[in-house]
């Protein structure tokens, strides 16, 4: 059975801390892995990863994929209160229209 597992389920940190969010997957016909940030209702796209070992970076956020060990991490450095959100990991499969989502990690950044 295909699955995407995120850890931790929730995380509380202080402003300025660095956090690492984890996503492991077991899916057939893997094509890419995507990260989204969901603050209220709408997930906003962060990264799409297709190749192992190539870091994608956007400001304080970065992500990398390991296709051999079947996981990805999302790093956030120097966290701010505006980073508080649910971070969703999703896997795209070849030949399928469906994005298979994990249950998310709820990050809370306190001042």
């Amino acid at each position: 059975e295909d699955k995407v597992v995120q850890s931790p389920l929730s995380l509380v940190v202080h402003e300025g801390d660095t956090v690492t969010l984890n996503c492991s997957y077991e899916v057939t016909n893997f094509r890419s892995l995507l990260w989204y940030k969901q603050e209220k209702k709408a997930p906003t796209f962060l990264f799409m990863l297709t190749s192992s070992g190539i870091e994608k970076k956007s400001g304080r956020l970065s992500s990398i994929l390991d296709k051999k060990e079947l996981f990805s991490i999302l790093n956030i450095t120097a966290t701010q209160t505006g980073d508080s959100a649910v971070y969703l990991c999703a896997v795209d499969q070849t030949g399928a229209n469906n994005l298979f989502f994990g249950t998310g990690t709820r990050l809370t950044v306190i001042p």
Binding site: R31, S32, L34, Y36, K40, K41, A42, P43, T44, F45, M48, L88, A90, N97, N98, L99, F101, G102, T103, G104
Partner: protein, 114 residues
């Protein structure tokens, strides 16, 4: 990326009634999808909205309960029919502008059924 307008933003409905949610995109898109996010859960695909033909439904979702229209490449509607409290969820429209491009989401509709 495409600008996706979804409405209504939220609604409170009585059981047994139906609600139609609209999704308008500011440019033609290849793929349009409807997702549901039940409280405390992750996103689940309801169906793929096909332009000019019947939608493709995922296991556990049927056309009679969730009729979908997509008359052109920029617009789609999802109707939640004969609602029950179990239909209380966030409903999300998503689009892909090209094959293998990432999905982008509308602002979502928070539905509460009493």
């Amino acid at each position: 990326s495409a600008v996706i307008s979804q409405k209504p933003s939220r609604d409170i409905c009585q059981r047994g009634t139906s609600l139609t949610i609209q999704c308008q995109v500011d440019s033609q898109v290849t793929m349009m999808f409807w997702y549901r996010q039940q409280p405390g859960q992750s996103l689940t695909l309801i169906a793929t909205a096909n332009q000019g033909s019947e939608a493709t439904y995922e296991s556990g979702f049927v056309i009679d309960k969730f009729p979908i229209s997509r008359p052109n490449l920029t617009f789609s509607t999802l109707t939640v029919s004969n609602m029950s409290p179990e239909d209380s969820s966030i409903y999300l429209c998503s689009v892909a502008t090209a094959i293998n491009s990432p999905l982008h989401f509308g602002n979502g509709t928070r539905l509460t059924v009493t």
